[in-house]
């Protein structure tokens, strides 16, 4: 069942219950409710449904569900007061219009009616926000569980022992040949290991941080592949305003090398390009090679992970795409918005 369906069921069942309850009270307390009183009660119920629905749309529009903290309380209280006043005015109007004599305008009557209305809006808000609070909590838990799993798998296979041990082997040879470069390579390898191990600490990191990991990674691969690997980085200056899941770009770049360039006798090119347009960032990784999907082509572990992570973080707002460009290149494309949903 999706959320909209749950919402409408609660709305209709809840308010119908309210209407029936009130009508039953009439029957019990008064002798016989006149037709006008039933009409007034139904109109009031209709008003509740419509006003709370508008209220709900505004909650979504103003992004209150993303805050869900005590900071919201003053805003909710204010909304309840505004809604209650409008509802009370509406009730007065229909009582005048339908000329229901029972409604004398005594202070007692006004206070009791008004507080009943406040109570209804309060109850509605309580149910609505508590429900969302728990939903968010649940999805945060799901997210955490998934991240743990991803992290574990990453450590197991994506850490890529091939890369590390080959890297170490190259560094060992480099110690004789070019000690300065060897020192740099050790630092870079440490950075990558540190980033991989500390992955679960943050859901998102600034793009500049991610880029520096990617740079370290590419530098190290350059030590291994030497002239067989050419890298080009075109980074849009606005990219640094964005946040990305840690190691996401690095994983994709690594895939491009592992499945693309590493298999080519003469090596190839890897190009990392970012573009920023209308508050979304497009990250494009273009590498020599060909992407094969299907039973023979390996749908890399990295791809499945990336798609899942994007979905968890951005819902349907992020896009992932991988395709061949001509016969020589593979393009991996990720589009992410500036805001995550969780």
């Amino acid at each position: 069942m999706n959320r909209a369906k749950i919402y409408w069921i609660c709305q209709i069942v809840g308010w119908s219950f309210y209407a029936i309850f009130n009508l039953a009270l009439f029957v019990l307390l008064e002798e016989n409710p006149v037709g006008n009183e039933i009409t007034a009660q139904l109109m009031l119920t209709g008003y509740f449904i419509i006003s709370t629905h508008i209220y709900r749309n505004l909650i979504i529009k103003w992004g209150w569900l993303r805050i869900l903290s005590p900071d919201l309380i003053p805003r909710i209280v204010l909304s309840i007061i505004v809604l209650s006043i409008s509802c009370f005015v509406f009730e007065l109007l229909i009582s005048l219009f339908l000329d229901i004599s029972r409604y004398d305008n005594s202070i007692v009557w006004i206070v009791s009616q008004f507080s009943a209305i406040i109570f209804m809006y309060f109850l509605w808000s309580l149910i609505y926000f508590v429900y969302h609070y728990f939903e968010n909590y649940k999805s945060a838990l799901k997210y955490q569980a998934r991240i743990n799993e991803i992290q574990l798998n990453k450590l197991k296979s994506q850490l890529n022992p091939h890369f590390i041990f080959n890297g170490l082997n190259s560094i060992r040879a480099l110690i004789d040949e070019n000690p300065r470069k060897a020192k740099m390579a050790v630092t870079q390898l440490s950075n990558i290991l540190r980033n991989t191990l500390g992955m679960n600490e943050k859901k998102l990191i600034n793009f500049s941080e991610e880029l520096s990991t990617v740079r370290d990674y590419l530098d190290l691969e350059n030590v291994r592949y030497e002239e067989r690997l050419q890298t080009v980085l075109n980074i849009h200056p606005d990219s640094y305003r964005f946040y990305v899941p840690p190691l996401m770009v690095q994983t994709l770049v690594e895939n491009g090398i592992k499945h693309g360039i590493a298999n080519l006798v003469d090596g190839g090119i890897l190009e990392l390009t970012t573009e920023v347009n209308d508050g979304v960032m497009k990250i494009e990784i273009k590498n020599s090679g060909q992407y094969q999907n299907g039973p023979k082509g390996r749908k890399g572990y990295g791809i499945a992970n990336t798609v899942q992570r994007l979905k968890l973080l951005y819902g349907d707002k992020a896009k992932f795409n991988i395709f061949n460009q001509g016969n020589e290149f593979v393009v991996t494309e990720v589009i992410i918005p500036q805001q995550a949903i969780v």
Binding site: N169, S170, A173, D176, R224, A262
Partner: protein, 240 residues
């Protein structure tokens, strides 16, 4: 021993070379940067030993071994205990993990030199033909073997493939029986018929068959028919 280093990374080749410079008995006669390059250098330089990286661009180390008729001694070098290596019988395999530990390298080389010495003492001169002390690389699906030809009882042709019988295994290799027949040493192997080549040292019993043919029983109980034409040659060969 003449060794050829096969690795696609320059620094890895350099590192291994420098490690090997301390071993007087090993002479690095060349380096190859991929499987095709290695194939040519093996033909040209005829090394006794290959240091072979498995993961290389284009063709893998296994592909190289499949291309070679007779494979020299092989020490695999790999960065990680790979799934691919589990295809081998553990004893049949020498591999070194990169970065290579000098001690491990020393052990592997000692084992190898021992084996090589035993082979030289057996008095086998290197010929252009494949003799019983030569080994071939056989890959069947996920499993791999280095098989000494002395262990092979029988080659049986099946379409474009040859079934290789040794111990309890009968993997297939993609070759023609005629091509193989030309390469094998005639003193050890005999073309029994259009379909079979037998290893003479595995023969247990010979019995006459119809039309002047023969049936040869191999150790392990397998019977192979020798055609009439070949039977005459066989008798010639076996008689003093």
């Amino acid at each position: 021993m003449k060794a050829l280093i096969v690795d696609d990374e320059r620094l890895a080749r350099k590192e291994l070379s420098s490690l090997l410079s301390d071993f007087k008995k090993i002479e690095v006669i060349g380096e190859a940067i991929n499987a095709d390059d290695a194939y040519q250098k093996v033909q040209e330089l005829n090394p006794d030993l290959l240091f072979l990286d498995i993961q290389m661009p284009g063709k893998s180390g296994f592909d190289l071994l499949e291309m070679l008729d007779s494979v020299p001694q092989v020490i695999f070098t790999t960065a990680y205990d790979e799934y691919a290596l589990r295809a081998f019988d553990v004893n049949a395999l020498d591999y070194l993990l990169k970065p290579i530990q000098k001690e491990r390298l020393k052990e592997s080389l000692n084992k190898l030199i021992e084996r090589q010495t035993a082979r030289t003492q057996a008095g086998v001169a290197k010929t252009s033909h494949l003799g019983v002390t030569d080994q071939v690389f056989v890959k069947d699906g996920d499993r791999c073997w280095f098989v000494k030809l002395s262990e092979v009882r029988l080659f049986e042709s099946e379409g474009n493939y040859i079934k290789v019988y040794f111990a309890d295994n009968r993997p297939m290799i993609h070759k023609s029986l005629n091509a193989l027949d030309e390469k094998l040493d005639g003193r050890s192997f005999f073309r029994a018929s259009r379909k079979h080549i037998i290893n003479l040292s595995w023969i247990e019993k010979i019995e006459p068959w119809f039309n002047g043919g023969l049936v040869v029983q191999l150790k392990g109980g397998q019977n192979v028919e020798v055609s009439r034409r070949q039977a005459a040659r066989f008798k010639d060969m076996m008689s003093l």
